[in-house]
Amino acid sequence: MHWPIDLIVLTFVIFCAIAAISVKDLLGTAILFGAYSFMMCLLWAVMGAVDVAFTEASVGAGVSTVFFVAAVFRTSRRTKD
């Protein structure tokens, strides 16, 4: 039974999601978003979806975050909400 791990990771996921959309700095959002993706990837690995977890680790936590940082670099870090 590994549902306790599952539950802990899920709590982290929700925490990261809320933090990512409420931080007042877009670069911070980018990093929290990467953390969110990585937590999500852990969760899927726990559930046995290894291929999906692998993809999310390389795409969500890797390349998407890089695109995100690149876009923030070319625009601005400022956000009102």
Binding site: D51, F54, S58, V59, V63, V66, F73
Partner: protein
């Protein structure tokens, strides 16, 4: 807007929670979703396709048609980023650094260029001195990342991974090169035209393998009809077909990831970046 958002979100949440009520328990082995098709795939896929990773077998063979369009989606995203951002006009101002003295030259006229060589090096506007440690570590690391990417593509039949993941890893090794050196280094080594052609050729490999099956007398994507073309055990023909397809996916994804990154980070001018 906040209030509207809140109302919509609550309505959606209520609808979804209402639907959750009759769900089978999480992880129930007897839920309908894990019985009908799933059992067929688990019991027959290895016998029919000789691929032990069921996800790859279903992805590239049973539902290979989905995957073909998924690759087309990726190709389309790369093309869209290129069309949206690419700007062929040279930027007016340029910065150069005289290497022996460290003096920075600011050239305002677009027509005058200095030859970049041993004395002068091209420089970004927000210039950070390149760090020796980072450069060296990345130079050592990048070949290994690329070999790992190739392994992921080739070994997708037996372990987690496949064309898409491998392509993303290969693409991120290129992005790492751009971050640790500078964007110019990447653009010089991997020409834009090469990336564009790779993106199209990758998808073309997939569609081509699928389309060859038609003149061979099978339906579209039916790898088993490729047997006369490829020497070797006809028993493993489906696995070989999948491998070919995965290589196509890997090439396309690699190229597209690099295209998207380069265009976003340099606003389409391909001169300076992160």
């Amino acid at each position: 807007m906040k209030l509207l958002g809140f109302i919509v979100v609550c309505l959606t949440g209520a609808l979804l929670l209402y639907g959750t009520g009759e769900f089978p328990d999480w992880g129930d082995p007897h839920s309908p979703a894990s019985l009908h098709l799933s059992n067929y795939y688990i019991e027959k896929a290895v016998e029919e396709t000789q691929v032990p990773n069921l996800v790859t077998a279903v992805l590239a063979d049973y539902r290979g048609f989905d995957t073909m369009f998924e690759t087309a989606v990726i190709f389309c995203a790369g093309l869209a980023c290129f069309l949206l951002l690419r700007d062929f006009q040279e930027k007016k101002e340029r910065f150069y650094r005289h290497t022996p003295t460290g003096i920075i030259l600011h050239v305002k006229d677009a027509k005058k260029t200095l030859t970049v060589g041993r004395e002068f090096e091209h420089m970004d506007k927000e210039w950070v001195p390149s760090d020796l440690i980072i450069k060296t570590v990345c130079r050592i690391l990048i070949p290994f990342i690329q070999i790992f990417a190739l392994y992921v593509v080739a070994h997708g039949d037996f372990s987690p991974g496949g064309g898409f993941q491998g392509g993303v890893i290969f693409g991120s090794s290129l992005i790492l090169l751009a971050i640790s050196y500078d964007l110019k280094t990447l653009v010089r080594r991997v020409k834009e035209k090469v990336l564009g052609i790779f993106a199209a050729v990758g998808v073309l490999i997939y569609v081509g393998i699928a389309a060859i099956c038609m003149p061979m007398g099978g339906n579209f994507l039916d790898y088993s009809k490729l047997a006369p073309l490829i020497p070797g055990d006809p028993h493993h023909i489906r696995a070989l077909g999948m491998l070919g397809v995965e290589i196509g996916v890997g090439i396309a994804v690699m190229a597209v990831m690099a295209i998207i990154y380069i265009n976003i980070v340099s606003e389409g001018r391909h001169d300076e970046g992160l």
